[in-house]
Symmetry: C2
Subunit: 111 residues, 2 copies
């Protein structure tokens, strides 16, 4: 068993094309021995966004704090603490901070 605090994990800036003001902590990783999926925590600064993109794996998201939006091909949905998002494989998506505080969310993905 591993027990830690999110603050025990180093923050990594995300420099991918299309990302602005995004940082990640890998809270539960492959190297922890996670058998099937890993847990990441993202922070998007006000005015920032993740890349609008697609890939062949899913995201399972829970918003911890802040205000934002998730963009998909045909709509945009508001997000706040307690929002839950399932992005299925190959669905276009992008997360946007629409507020004045950091937007912080968990995003788990298959290993």
């Amino acid at each position: 068993m591993i027990v830690r605090r999110y603050t025990d994990v180093k923050t990594e800036a995300i420099n991918a094309e299309g990302a602005k003001g995004v940082a990640k902590r890998v809270l539960i990783s492959r190297s922890d021995g996670a058998p099937n999926f890993i847990m990441r925590q993202f922070t998007i600064e006000p005015g920032g966004n993740t890349p609008y993109h697609t890939h062949d794996w899913e995201h399972e998201v829970y918003v911890l704090s802040g205000k934002g939006r998730v963009r998909q091909s045909d709509s945009v949905c508001d997000l706040s603490a307690g929002s839950v998002v399932l992005v299925l494989p190959n669905e276009e998506h992008g997360f946007i901070n629409s507020g004045v505080e950091p937007l912080v969310f968990l995003c788990s993905v298959p290993k």
Copy 2:
């Protein structure tokens, strides 16, 4: 893509042997089409606990609010908002609310 709020999901009381004051919301389920893992949110009332048990799949836990402890075979660790727990397959574990408010945490498991 599915976007919802945790409050959109019905709460189910957990009546398993050894559970006391525990309820669950399945925030992202098999029926949503989750390909690999599902996301549940548990609430343990003050004085309550999950069963102390083991099984052959992992838990990936993030504590949202409240105070608690996770018990394992040889130790007990304190939990509060921002605590992260990886319970590996076949590790004994039990979650306990040690505070005066509900202990609320996410717990994802493989499908």
